[in-house]
């Protein structure tokens, strides 16, 4: 993934990129799935791993969404306990990602409902 959005040239069919910004496509997934991974996936990865330094046993709060659904799985893979927020209709989906607890943000203020969280990945505030 090149620098986004400037060099990424969204909606271009062809872009030039430095080879160090590219990686092979994961085996066993479609090109559509692979295309959906870099921007949201790296946002989740850099947030949780590089900045948040999520460790086994940490409690991590994520919000459902493009970044959030990947963040939940990354946190899980690193041995964290994942708390997800989503509207009720998306709870089965969030649980299928490995979330240990799911909160309906429409009926519950997660700031009150959640305690002892080590890392919060907040991607809903501002642009």
């Amino acid at each position: 993934m090149p620098f986004f959005p400037r060099a990424g040239n969204a909606y271009e069919e062809i872009v030039a990129a430095a080879s160090r910004q590219l990686a092979r496509k994961p085996a066993g997934v479609s090109h559509e799935e692979a295309a959906a991974l870099p921007l949201a996936g790296l946002t989740a990865w850099q947030s949780l791993v590089d900045v948040g330094d999520v460790k086994p046993g940490n409690r991590v709060l994520v919000h459902a969404g493009g970044v959030g659904h990947l963040a939940a799985q990354i946190a899980k893979a690193r041995g964290a306990c994942v708390i997800g927020t989503a509207s009720a209709g998306k709870h089965p989906f969030v649980r299928s990602l490995g979330a240990d607890e799911v909160i309906d943000y429409r009926t519950t203020d997660f700031a009150d409902a959640v305690r002892d969280v080590d890392v919060v990945l907040e991607s809903i505030g501002g642009d």
Binding site: I14, P38, Q46, L70, Q73
Partner: protein
């Protein structure tokens, strides 16, 4: 942690008052991160949810769909993806064309003459370009089998192998020899070729006029002799190939 403007001072102050560390991030290119994600996907620990894919022409439709709040990502697919072999991947955006031509002129006898038009044609067709010092210090130009290139050496390989990366030329400035530049250019090339699922890298080395240093260098890199040819003007070459 939150993904908002890095400089959101108000939020940062609020967080500090509550004893919480606050850090904003803006996602950046990250090869190591992409490889880590790839490993998670291949270990079935990470699955990306694609809500729907649209043809690029229906980008407007895709945005309308996105505004309905679907679970997962929305993907736009260009009409026809460009074959990877033709993608131009440049390690270093800055190519010093006059510098590359000057370095090439010093080594015309070992490689072949190159003018600006020919260089640009090679770059446009290349599978991989590697440069050090924007090409003034060292460079490598490599093509895939799909290149349209009238070189007898390239076409010798093309007649024999269905798929390969052909090293058209690799040159290191005389004053910078022995520092591992050529080896590092080759290692980058091997990595790029493996990532694109190539299994063979080819090149030729002169026998007449002889170039024993180049021959020994390529042998040390794991190349083997696969043939040879007598060319025009008394030139003779040995063909080399290396499996990836």
């Amino acid at each position: 942690m939150t993904i908002v403007a890095r400089s959101n001072a108000e939020l940062a102050a609020k967080a500090r008052a509550r004893g919480v560390r606050f850090a904003g991030i803006s996602v950046e290119p990250d090869y190591a991160g992409l490889e880590a994600l790839t490993r998670l996907v291949e270990a079935s620990e990470l699955k990306v949810q694609v809500a729907r894919a649209f043809p690029l022409e229906q980008a407007g439709e895709a945005h309308r769909f996105l505004s309905t709040g679907p679970a997962g990502k929305v993907v736009l697919v260009p009409r026809e993806s460009t074959p990877l072999e033709r993608a131009i991947v440049v390690n270093d955006f800055v190519l010093d064309e006059p510098g590359i031509l000057a370095l090439n002129r010093m080594h015309e006898s070992e490689t072949s003459p190159l003018d600006l038009a020919a260089l640009r044609n090679l770059v446009a067709q290349s599978f991989h370009i590697g440069v050090r010092g924007a090409g003034r210090e060292a460079f490598v130009i490599a093509l895939s089998q799909d290149a349209d290139y009238p070189s007898p050496n390239f076409n010798w390989f093309k007649r024999r192998y269905p798929q390969f990366v052909y090293v058209d030329r690799v040159i290191v400035a005389r004053a910078l020899r022995g520092k591992g530049l050529a080896r590092s250019l080759y290692e980058d090339l091997f990595t790029a070729a493996r990532r694109s699922a190539f299994v063979l890298v080819c090149c030729e080395v002169n026998v007449e006029p002889p170039n024993p240093a180049s021959d020994a260098f390529h042998m040390a890199l794991g190349f083997r002799h696969v043939g040879g040819a007598q060319l025009a003007a008394g030139k003779a070459v040995r063909y080399l190939a290396r499996d990836l």
